[in-house]
């Protein structure tokens, strides 16, 4: 590795709070969005809630990549990617050389599910009223619609030729993607990489969490004693990662430095976290060490915080082991309570929020906890935003399979 420093110089977003980074930040500062029932007639489940991107914010284009029709996830990915590249001010040459590394779990799942349930009789406005009832898909020539088309769809839309990679690390996918993108730059294999994630609506995912008893029928309530599981959200978050030298040559002012990443695997259970959180702790400590920071250098945390009873308890205990008694005053941003659990895009959304917190120097207030869980001894600001100090943020992202990644973002005036 060259030891090159990696900066974040562009951001893009689409989520339930609207289109664009400004809408995202404004929405966070206003307390976040709300979960609504799916309009999917086949969502036969107790709690079909999701934090959904408003229909007018779901882009209509691009409709296809080759013969493959693109669902809402890839289309939102393209929109967020365009915003991030514009934000970064990359010239056409840099755009052509760009590598794209995306973490995508559901990908084009809505297209797949629609085909699979082609006997539908009701109309789902999000998925295209003219297509839901089709018994076959003659537009595709009867050909398969693959799931993992988001990265190539984004690369094609941008004209990026530096390679398109799809990581399938479930709900930690885009956290891993950001880490990989940084390693690629540090290794000298690229100067600029677009990293992020994009997810549409998936009946299978919501249904699977219902079947596990891990879908909250009220709203996403991380760290609340009455939490009953997570609530998914759709959307896309993109970050332009760039070597410090490349950014300096362009005179760009970064949002933040991606200082370090820690990766680990529980190797414990296919769906449940290891109760002691040993590998979660290791990922956080490794991320801090790589960034050259101590726990007291961190000013806020964007936790994985899904609202599932076990995750939040394990993560809270792990935070306690890393930050000690300082947990009582170390502010957490309960992001999933505001935009839902965005699946494979969650880690990128965490980094996006962290970069904006560093830019604005504040940690937005999270939705109020009705009954804070004593098992989760963490500090979630709820009444008003609080200053971010010191200027560094830890982002956690975990997944089925025990995949853990912790990312450390530092501000320009951070401790480093």
């Amino acid at each position: 590795m060259t030891g090159r420093r990696v900066l974040i110089t562009g951001l893009g977003a689409v989520c339930c709070l609207g289109t664009g980074v400004e809408a995202f930040w404004r929405g966070l500062c206003a307390g976040g969005g709300h979960a609504e029932p799916l309009a999917d007639p086949h969502a036969h489940m107790r709690s079909p809630l999701m934090y959904q991107v408003p229909l007018p914010d779901v882009p209509a284009e691009p409709r296809r990549l080759g013969h493959v029709r693109l669902g809402a996830g890839p289309r939102m990915g393209v929109a967020a990617a365009h915003e991030a590249l514009t934000d970064a001010g990359l010239d056409p040459q840099a755009r052509r050389r760009l590598s794209v590394v995306l973490g995508v779990e559901l990908g084009n799942a809505d297209m797949h599910e629609r085909r699979r349930s082609s006997a539908a009789t009701r109309v789902d406005p999000r998925r295209g009223s003219d297509e839901v009832g089709a018994l076959s898909c003659p537009e595709d020539g009867g050909r398969w619609v693959p799931l993992t088309v988001t990265a190539p769809a984004v690369a094609a839309a941008l004209g990026a030729t530096g390679g398109a990679v799809s990581l399938g690390d479930a709900c930690a996918a885009s956290g891993y993607a950001v880490g990989f993108a940084a390693d690629t730059i540090r290794a000298g294999a690229a100067d600029v990489v677009l990293a992020g994630g994009a997810e549409g609506i998936s009946r299978v995912s919501v249904g699977a969490f219902n079947r596990l008893g891990a879908a909250d029928p009220v709203r996403c309530r991380p760290f609340d004693r009455h939490r009953r599981g997570t609530v998914f959200g759709d959307g896309a978050a993109m970050l332009v990662l760039e070597s410090a030298a490349h950014a300096a040559s362009r005179g760009r002012v970064p949002y933040a430095e991606l200082g370090g990443a820690g990766w680990s695997c529980d190797a414990y259970h296919p769906t449940a976290p290891e109760p002691e959180g040993r590998q979660v702790v290791r990922a956080m400590r490794d991320g801090l060490a790589e960034a050259g920071l101590a726990p007291e250098d961190i000013g806020a945390v964007v936790p994985h915080g899904t609202g599932t009873p076990l995750n939040d308890a394990v993560e809270s205990r792990a935070l306690r082991r890393v930050f000690g008694d300082r947990c009582q005053r170390l502010p957490l941003l309960s992001l999933k309570a505001m935009i839902g659990h965005t699946g494979g895009a969650a880690g990128a959304f965490g980094c996006l929020a962290a970069a904006l917190m560093l830019r604005h120097g504040r940690v937005p207030a999270s939705p109020p906890l009705e009954d804070p869980d004593q098992e989760c001894a963490v500090f979630v600001p709820q009444q008003a935003s609080v200053p971010l100090s010191p200027s560094a943020v830890l982002v956690n992202s975990y997944a089925f399979g025990g995949n853990n990644v912790s990312l450390v973002l530092a501000g320009r005036q951070g401790p480093r």
């Binding site: 489940m45 030729t161 399938g168 695997c265 296919p270 399979g401 995949n403």
Partner: protein, 306 residues
């Protein structure tokens, strides 16, 4: 790429018996290629409640870890917290996802089996391999189309170069399930590959410290819009003549290998380096036309690797 060099120290295959003798491609012993009663080996302890892609992968991983000298019976003896799992599979959980879509529409979610739920996540295979051997390093799943296998090897090399891992188990697995067969009929892609292949990638210094033989070193890799550009970039300034391991050779022999293809090519190359005075092999995927992504991986003899 700077950082420690990445070498291959183990190979494991779980191939269909129907492919017959493969010693022209893989210079491996019968135990390494899984010449056992394969279907029996996919049942029993440790194989229950797992999808076919995971079971195939577990068999291949076991063979590769054994070949690398990292198993004592069934126990992993390497550095667990510094051992990564990198899996490439595009169709691995297709049967689970299709089945779940059908069941939810027909019976509501109450019809779903909780035991099958993990397999709706694309990273289930990597999770099972980690759980089986207690591997607590980075756990990565690549769903990257035809180049996925070579991409997975690149990521393993990157993990080693970044010093995130000393060892990485790279697995390519694709099962021949009913939805896969239907997909391949639709695409006119020929018969499906039904198997898995694993290679153990390790930092050269770690392998040397353990005193194990490096079968080859991952010397170059590139992705590009067309194959000639990928080959040029992967070879760099390396002057050695290479033996070509093109995709068609493997697809013709084993069926549509999909995400397992690149790992198969690498495994073949690793077992053949040094034989017949072969100093370097070049695995290639893609065409000159540039219609799809292309990738190339250069694997060279490991003598003298620092």
């Amino acid at each position: 790429m700077s950082g420690p060099a990445a070498v291959i120290t183990g190979v494991g295959l779980t191939l269909p018996d129907s492919v017959g003798d493969v010693t022209d491609l893989f210079d491996v012993s019968a135990s390494e290629r899984g010449l056992f009663d394969r279907e029996a080996g996919l049942r029993g302890r440790g194989m229950r409640h797992k999808d076919r892609a995971s079971r195939l992968a577990l068999r291949a991983a076991r063979s590769a870890l054994g070949d690398a000298g990292l198993l004592d019976a069934e126990t992993f003896t390497g550095p667990a917290e510094r051992t990564a799992v990198v899996v490439s599979s595009n169709l691995g959980n297709l049967d689970s996802v299709c089945s779940f879509v059908d069941i939810i529409a027909r019976e509501t979610v109450t019809g779903l089996s909780p035991l099958g739920l993990p397999h709706t996540s694309s990273n289930a295979v990597a999770g099972w391999v980690a759980i089986q051997y207690g591997l607590r390093g980075p756990n990565v799943t690549v769903c990257n189309g035809s180049t996925g296998g070579l991409d997975a090897l690149f990521w393993a090399r990157t993990l080693v170069a970044a010093r995130r891992s000393d060892v990485a188990v790279v697995v390519g697995t694709e099962p021949d399930t009913e939805p896969v067969a239907r997909l391949l009929r639709q695409q006119d892609s020929g018969p499906a590959f039904d198997g898995a292949v694993a290679v153990v990638v390790e930092s050269a210094e770690h392998a040397r410290h353990r005193g194990v033989r490096a079968r080859g070193v991952l010397a170059g890799y590139a992705r590009a819009r067309d194959l000639s550009a990928a080959i040029t970039a992967a070879r760099g300034l390396d002057p050695r003549p290479v033996q070509l391991l093109d995709a068609e050779t493997f697809t013709t022999r084993f069926g549509y290998c999909c995400g397992a293809l690149g790992v198969l090519q690498c495994a073949a190359g690793a077992t053949r380096l040094g034989r017949d005075d072969i100093d370097a092999v070049l695995a290639t995927i893609g065409t000159a036309a540039g219609a799809e992504a292309a990738a190339a991986l250069l694997l060279a003899r490991a003598e003298g690797v620092a």
